[in-house]
Amino acid sequence: MTIQVVFQIAAVGILVAVLNQVLRAAGREEQAVLTTLAGLIVVLFWVIQHVSSLFTTVQELFNL
């Protein structure tokens, strides 16, 4: 894992935030909510892979 992942997540977050504001200003509340949800799912998809690899490594290291 590299620090790039953090920047990737931040990029998605900023994109979602901007889209959210634009859609809300255009009066499309539903699509704003859906955008937030989609961004969250994408980000969680990335993060969970790394959390899983961390837990597996810790499990091996400490014989848990």
């Binding site: 997540i9 931040a10 977050g13 937030t36 993060v47 959390v51 690899s53 961390l54 290291l61 848990l64």
Partner: protein
Amino acid sequence: MDSLIIKACAAGIIAVFLALTLKKETPAIALAITMAVGVFILLMILPRLEAVMGTLETVAAGVSGGGSEYIGVAVKVIGIAWVAEFGSNVCADAGEAGVASKIELAGKVLIMAVSAPIVLTLLERVIALL
């Protein structure tokens, strides 16, 4: 230790600023950033921790008078505490202090369960001495 501490520090500070920027608009993604940087820092220092554990095991193997077989239990306890700390910190960052304290409770109970044989052995030895 090389520049690992510089790396960890820099990664943490950058992630905190990014999370701060996103906290108002998308709090969930801000939490994901802090979580990702936590995983990043922990994965970065794991090889060093492995070396420390190796040293600990070498020292324990050299100790005479028995009891060195329990070093595995101590290592397990450290592992459980580490994972529990990580999980509870993520929950505490999100403002869910209740869930955080429950994870910590689970860690404490599991540590008790793992270390119960050592306590029993200690008690047996004390009783044998009396």
